[in-house]
Symmetry: C2
Subunit: 299 residues, 2 copies
């Protein structure tokens, strides 16, 4: 007792045509093959579906009942299949990524806009959170992959270098440091500093690079946009990732790269180790890799 979808299609074709020969040609089958398809369906169901003589073919009561079910089943079935096909050809799908707020605010928008224009049917979900929650979202399956500052290589996760990010010193143009030819950590340490939260990767890089100096913290905030506002208001200076400079564009600010030892933030793409991407995720992965800020040699 194995009923196939072709038998259902044959049944519906016959139900609509009420004629074996025509229905057979609709199904691209010889009339005899078609006939045995119907016969086998009736044997499987143990029910006569059509009253037929050489001149007339009509549904039985059971046939009419089955007609409703068969159409419903086939409609759902076809919907499911074409849904899959749509995903295969990227007409539909969903990509969920988690990435650092700095990337989300500066690099991502243009990349995402282009991707969405190229694949309007693909839904996109973005989580702009710090590295730890980024990784957690990948681990829990909420995100297809993450761009984070943690090289999360575990039995479960796999990381690959995505890009590296320098840092810039930002201060007001009327600040004494703006005129300094080449500020060193100790020069910067002389002034009030606007810090990010200790849990941010940026903060950790800066703390590490300026040791044994410690920047005098006037303020500790969570968002780079807030840092920008504070610096512009003259509350202090800061050192921020180059990828986030877009948020510091302002005529009042002086922005210069700093090349202190070790002060290069590496950003990794983190994904499940043994779980392939969906077609949509694969597509966005390729798109993002092709547009990453600046390639670095693979580790």
């Amino acid at each position: 007792m194995n009923i196939s979808t072709r038998q259902l299609r044959a049944f519906i074709a016959l139900s609509e045509n009420r004629n074996f020969t025509r229905a057979a040609s609709v199904c691209h089958l010889s009339q005899s093959a078609f006939s045995s398809l119907i016969r086998q369906l009736e044997e499987s169901l143990k029910v006569r579906l059509f009253d037929r003589n050489t001149r007339n073919v009509e549904l039985t009561a059971e046939g009419r009942e089955f007609d409703l079910s068969a159409r419903r089943v086939l409609a759902e079935f076809d919907a499911a299949v074409s849904n899959m096909h749509a995903r295969a050809v990227l007409e539909r799908g969903r990509v969920s990524i988690a990435l650092l707020p700095s990337l989300a605010a500066d690099w991502l928008p243009a990349v995402l806009a282009g991707f969405h224009a190229a694949h309007p049917g693909i839904d996109l979900a973005v989580a702009d959170v710090l590295s730890e929650p980024c990784i957690e979202r990948v681990r829990s399956g909420q995100a297809d992959f993450a761009l984070a500052a943690i090289r999360a290589d575990t039995p479960e996760l796999r990381a690959e270098p995505f890009c590296s990010d320098g840092f810039h010193l930002v201060c007001r143009k009327d600040h004494p440091l703006a005129a300094h030819p080449k500020p060193r950590p100790r020069d910067v340490a002389a002034w009030p500093f606007i810090h990010l939260s200790r849990t941010s990767s940026v903060r950790q890089y800066i703390d590490a690079a300026t040791l044994p100096q410690a920047m005098p913290a006037v303020l500790e905030v969570d968002q780079l946009a807030t840092v920008a506002g504070m610096v512009e208001a003259g509350l202090g200076i800061s050192v921020v990732p180059s990828l986030a400079l877009y948020q510091f564009r302002s005529a009042k600010l002086s922005i210069r790269p700093v090349k202190w030892a070790g002060l290069t933030r590496r950003i990794y793409l983190v994904r499940k180790r043994d779980q392939g991407f969906s077609a949509a995720a694969e597509c966005f992965y390729d798109w993002a890799m092709a547009r990453r800020p600046q390639p670095i040699k693979s580790a």
Copy 2:
């Protein structure tokens, strides 16, 4: 691209077991046959449904999406199939019959009660109407078959003898006719007569059998039960079909058979000529034939 229900079942088995070997045994297949079933499904859908390595099998994002659809489709499919099976084994179904009011009131109830007890899952629909509408219900497909007093043999319909029905004279016990040894039409014609409507088969038989006598009509009503009430009230007498005598049981009434020439009503079972019965209708047909009032020789 031909996806079978077995592939859907295989998919769900693998989705639940996350292990080819176990899922294969659940499906009573060798592991290799099972593997190719899954591979072909993935090829048909052009989508990878499982992330698998030698140690682990997991659904992909597309796989999880398809899982929902596959379960829904299979559930509907199985429901449709078992619905048909239930009808085949008479656990379910529907029979619709049309029959004369006299049969519906007297003969049918016990027959129907027994049938319903034997096949509680089969729904029953009864139309107790005169012969013409009976036939019309069969023609229009509202009734599976009819028991009527018309031998409706047309290109569309087929009639077979079902039973024959005598007539009884009914009057009050204190009526002069009650003492008459053998009432003839002319004896009866001397008294007020309660008639049925001219469109009823009973009336037509009586009019034909009493020619050239005409019964003096005091009343013309539609229902035999009304005739019973009128006769019992002493408004007149009547001649009614023997099959409907149940409605005339009363200590006040005298009931005697009359054997006038031609006064035998033949009742036919009428069905579509080229349309088989549903399983349920076939079953009730057999049941009814086995319990018909009195068999007559087949024409």
